[in-house]
Amino acid sequence: MFRVSIKNITGRFWTLVLTALAVVLGTAFVAGSLVFTDSIDRTFNQLFSSSSAGTDAVVRGTETAGSTGFGDGREQLPLDLATDIEAVDGVSAATPQIQGLALMVGADGTAVRNGNAPSFGLAYDPQSQTARITEGRAPEGPDEIAPESSTLERSGLSVGDTSQLLATAEPVDVTIVGVVTSDDASLGATSIYLDAATAQSYFAPQETVSAFSIRGDGSLSQDELAAAIAPVLPDAAEVVTQDVLVEEGREAVGTALGFVNTFLLVVAFVSLLVGAFIIFNVFSMLLARRTRELALLRAVGASSGQVLLAVLVEALAVGLIGSVIGLGLGLLIAFALQSVVGGFGFEISGGLPVDATTVVVTVLAGVIATVVSAMLPAIRASRVAPVAALRDDVALPERQIRIRALIGLVLAAAGVAALLTGLFVEVRSPLWWVGGGVLGVFFGVAIAAPLIARPVVWLISVPSVALAGTVGRLARQNSLRNPRRTAATASALMIGTALVGAATIVTSSINASLSDSIENDLTAQYVLSSGQTTFFPTTVAADAAELDGVALALPTRSLLLQLGSDPSAAGTAPADGTAPADGTAPADGTAPADGTAPESLFVLAGSLEETRRAVDITVVSGDASATGEDSLAIPRSTADEREWSVGDVVTARPGLAEPREFTVTAIYEDSSILQAEGLVSAAVYDEAVPVGQQVDNQILIVAADGADLPALRQELTTLVEPYLVVSVLDGEEFTSQFTNGVNQVLGIISALLGLSIFVALIGIVITLVLSVIERRREIGLLRAVGLTRTQLRRTVTLEGVATSVFGALLGITLGVVFGLSLQRALSEQGLETLSVPYVTLAVFLVVGAVVGVLASAAPAWWASRRDVLESIATE
């Protein structure tokens, strides 16, 4: 029987190619995601090991609440601690890590940035082994800088040119005196080196830093060095070896990228699922064509088990070949993903690593998907009666369509039930319920789809029959001829469309909800904003407040209150790009950090009374006018969660300040502009956050009564102009800043899921090609009695369009169901407004039709080029 399998494969080159294509596309994304995440991993490994050169250990402040693992959110250590450390035997140097956010102006007059990657200013260390001056000289004094080489390249300037530096104070004119080449993988961040004193004045004005790099003199191992240093450190400091630091970095990255990995694997799974539908379909068609041959095998004595085995061995081989090619294509996909991510400013230098795991997982996934998908058609084929070999007109036994529909509907219903359970009922792992539910619905609908294929496709074809007459009718008959096949082909398209559709509805609802609440709640006339990842000096807020037309300039500054009795473990909300200081904290209102500090409160600086002038906030209870330094205003959600009420006293440590007692003075209704767990007075912030870390990225501007608004806007624009990254937004523009981010995420999700639509498109191509092959003689007959090539092409195209539009319709329907369920489930979390983007959904339908046209182009052309005679010749 093995020989039969092998012969079957070699004898059917083209059909093999088509089947393998489905496997290739299905597995390519699996391989692509794996290679991509490995390359990210490797990039970080390079980053951490290259930055470790010349550093043996790091002394740093102990972790405080809200640490992100990147060295911030730590106790500040005095700069002169370096002297104590250097006195330890075995230590060659202890260099304070002085760095902060800094931008320079490029040749075109705008800030030099790389996408959304951060922009750093650093102290240049002449003894550093990782960052060296490679051109010009080291910077000296406040008016000289040495940008890192790729940053300089990006700026369009060169050594000797003048520029402006924007750090934590007002912009300064500077001269570029040198270029630094750094071994540290920058991941796309821009770096500007300053001399140590200048850097210190910007980033460590209080003569404190969060870490020191320690270089040994070579006499001690890393561990011994750390052990030697530990005794001289204060309580607030700790020493870790470079090896430990690298490991920590990797873990942190692993956590941060876990989401990306999961999402990519979900997308990979989706494309594999779509691929499986296609494989199933192709095998069904191929085996149907070979019924007589299989029956002949049975007639000459092969058992049905042997027939089954022969088909499965064939599937195994196709799966194997397809997965190996898919692996190759996966490298291309990974490369494309790297380019996309690079476009966002995150440069990946890890190459395209192919691990053994990647190979094994991809090939296993491909082979298993192929064999499992081929199982059902194979079983059906193995049941063919030997007598079928003798009959002229044979068909595989079709199972009762009604039983099939029943199974499908039950499965779909179970899927919906699981989905709703996951969304609305408190269960242990809701994601599995939701995922399983969605899968159940997909399979259920796919199984039941042949039942509705007849009436729906009939309806879809009404326009084509009306417009194309006989050609349209022929096309309709062709798509209706095998509802099972049409449905399976359409189901592949359904999956991608449904997921993109659901994502669109959720996004649209988020946008609508955000717009509703932000536009309603914002009473400030203007917002000075630098976007979500860039910051500007706090001087802007002070200057803006001085303007005549401004009644209030309220910066949105955040910090963490460490709750509870342990005063040694409090922290700041680092205002340096690791926390969303613009108030766009995660919607659930928890701390923006990695979740290791659940007992902290993410609060904004500003009294409730002041804030209410810029944002419309309804006070539920308490005294809104309390402005004392110990007053704490909390939203209703925090009050409910913590079971606090007005008058309660809370002990908390604000940032790096001393622990103190706060009194809950007011409870207000949650606001989507203030996505924080509370409000404290601005004075608390000044104490809690070191001056060098105080930066803004958003200031709400309330105009004075009777102010000339256009004139005010002009004044504000002039004011922020030197700061490059700051723009003046009105309420509507401010809202779109939020919605733009959401739309961008939707764009990425759709693009990735769109790949599964491409796989589905290939599926339609395969189905059409096979059905053209199958109908070879019928097509020949039609051509013989006078169907022109154009008419034939049109017939095939209309058939493809009917299939794809059917798939798009199924997908849109399911997308609406999924989107609606998600919106309902998330309505508590602020997704109150349901918005179904009808126009977008209609566009999906058009896209579905376009997919059909594209998919049928090649098969239609191919069919029309077949030789008429060859087709009608009797065998």
Partner: protein, 263 residues
Amino acid sequence: MADTVASARELVKIYGKGEAQVNALDGVSVDFERGRFTAIMGPSGSGKSTLMHCLAALDRPTSGQVIVDNVDVSTLKDRALTKLRRDRVGFVFQAFNLVPTLTASENITLPVDIAGRKVDREWFDLVIGILGLGDRLSHKPNELSGGQQQRVACARALVSRPAIVFADEPTGNLDSRSAAEVLGFLRRSVDEFGQSVVMVTHDPSAASYADRVIFLADGHVVEEMADPTTEAVLDRMKSFDSHGRHASTDTVEPTKTLVGGDA
């Protein structure tokens, strides 16, 4: 030659190249009269099907000229050829004559529908009546017997009133009673409607329905017979079989051989 509906001049059709070259037609010249029933006969590989395919604009000859209803087919492009087949030629094949997704009625009117023309109802009813298909019109092909399917194919071939009907072994897959019905109908279409019919067959009794039989062997017209009877045709066929290739090559064109090259 007003009474010629189709003709071939010095028709050559070569398949393959070099060693594998086969001269399926080796300079065939023949005329088919309008309003007559002509049968083409010959042993397997004689080139009879190739001749018909070239005449019916289904295949292009290597060289030579084909004229159908006063149109020089050899000059036409695919689109014009398709139109010619649709409007001036009717077909009946040995098998797979009908589109399985269409009803009998839709199959019959298919060429007219494709052309986007109106069906001549009176003519349609007349043809259907003669063929006895009145109660089968809404049936799909798989609900019809082989004989019924072939009668539907005949109706389709006639309904657009083509200049000529080509039938390729129309009775090859039928039992003798059904075959007689189909052949009887083709005969009636010639006698009653003046239809021109060309039929390829290897069955002497089928050929006996024709007005004239043309015998082909090795890509040549070797003989023709007017008003054939089954017995006469059978005798003629037997002589081919017993003498084989030599009988024909010796008598007709002694200098030529079947396969390009030497004998």
